[in-house]
Symmetry: C2
Subunit: 322 residues, 2 copies
Amino acid sequence: MISNVSLEKAANLLSSAESVLIFPHINPDGDALGSCAALCRALRNENKEAWILLEEDVPGYLSFMDIEFCTQNPGCIMEPDICICVDCSEERRFPDRAEKYNSGRTKMCIDHHATSGSFGDYYYIDGAEAATAQIIYKLLLEMGARIDRSIAASLYTGISTDTGNFQYSNTTPETHMIAAELMRTGMDHVSITVALYQNVSLRKVRLEARILDRMEIFAGGRAVISYVDSSMLQEVSAVMEDSESAIDTLRNIEGVEIAAFLKEKGDAVKVSMRAKSAGRVDEIAVKFGGGGHAKAAGCTLDMSVSEAADAIKKEIISYLEK
Amino acid sequence: MISNVSLEKAANLLSSAESVLIFPHINPDGDALGSCAALCRALRNENKEAWILLEEDVPGYLSFMDIEFCTQNPGCIMEPDICICVDCSEERRFPDRAEKYNSGRTKMCIDHHATSGSFGDYYYIDGAEAATAQIIYKLLLEMGARIDRSIAASLYTGISTDTGNFQYSNTTPETHMIAAELMRTGMDHVSITVALYQNVSLRKVRLEARILDRMEIFAGGRAVISYVDSSMLQEVSAVMEDSESAIDTLRNIEGVEIAAFLKEKGDAVKVSMRAKSAGRVDEIAVKFGGGGHAKAAGCTLDMSVSEAADAIKKEIISYLEK
């Protein structure tokens, strides 16, 4: 935990401000947007001037959220009392808004990502929290804000997306305690679940069916590999992004310990790898100049998809034989 | 709620017994087995004679559970002080064990399924509980039992499976409160998640890829239909059961309001349907002599798969045009 301010002091600062400009990281996910939306709504409920400043449109899959006060206009507040970045603690994660952030009379930062150092005038960064939404929840309690249904739904979305809906190892007893409190407001968790997990685009479903059709099981069923290339994308009018979750489906196959997924990108091949329980895929990725975590790692190979597949398979087999 | 006994009284009865035989329903799922395993382990911790009587092997996907005291031998306890059916309140759901159940000096029943009437000497049936595991949790607290990691893991498995891992509408604030308490024992929710949700059989993955490859989107993207027949099963060495979750994948497609899935069974076709938000599929199913709930219904048609698909599509289109 890196912090030079208590949540109580941070709450006091926000309560004393009249205008607050809120900065999520670029390409905001459910936790970034949910945390910002909850804070913004709570400040608005206190009749403060508050906006969320983005540098892109809200992603379509998050458009169900409380995004009424999202804007791409840096002039929405001319001289903010407070600029606060939320779920983000590095300037490079809001490149086109850094100047505006630095124009705040007071600069704050609330995050749960482990970061390299301090940031802004006041920072509260706790890597032990499963989601920034959990920190915002506690901050709002310190502010004495009423957690209404809209705020609860935003925080719940943040917690759900960053914990894989309570599945990941970052989920703690406190995560469930907060979820219980949020549900007590009467918020509708089913509509959030439907929006987040039951709205998979048709082209993504079609693409994944093709990826699964082409998968190869090897190493006696302990490993699986598949790929996506430009012709497969064309067949179903998909984009590369539509293949993002395929690696999880591959890893979820019974008996599979290591899954590899290859994406053709021009003349190179981007490789994603996952390990299920015992294995470490970072040890395989480093052999190709890549890296990552024990359970999720990757590398880029300058060769054809079939050459890359052969090379990766060979390395996985050798790793599993150890 | 149908009940002629308080949980306190039920706890006292169990605490006073020396031998307890526990009956889950046939084809036990995660909640049935988890609830039974937790109760059995708690009774064993009190040095009581306790067994779980099954009429089949534990399903492979639940073999990770605490099944040490599962048996198919009705003679494991000759004259049980208490026979208790758990997650089950109808004799027809344990047909081959009903005689043994009725041999208990005291007969009890704990369930969360809405049922037609009373059962046994003492029954506690609360349809408002998301999982029987939630009732067992409260029962164990009344018994003064220590919730150890093994018991917590069994209860967590029950709650997770019956709530779609906290996604279904039956999930309440209390569900999350109990999950928090179970996690506080130090139980490993990640290994349960991996066992339940990250171990999909290869043949199931291959079959689902084929089912998705054959799906047809219609009614302007608001409906989808697909099927499985014997030749598809043969191609990937799958059994009909492996197609169970395909209907959910179909329903989860963005824009789809109604999903239909057809299974060839001999000369007939079994149809499953799902509605996402506004629609009611039971109204469609009744047109074919079937039935079910608003969001999940089905029917059986005595025709070929392609004839059945045409008939179902026609009815769905007509329903959506209303």
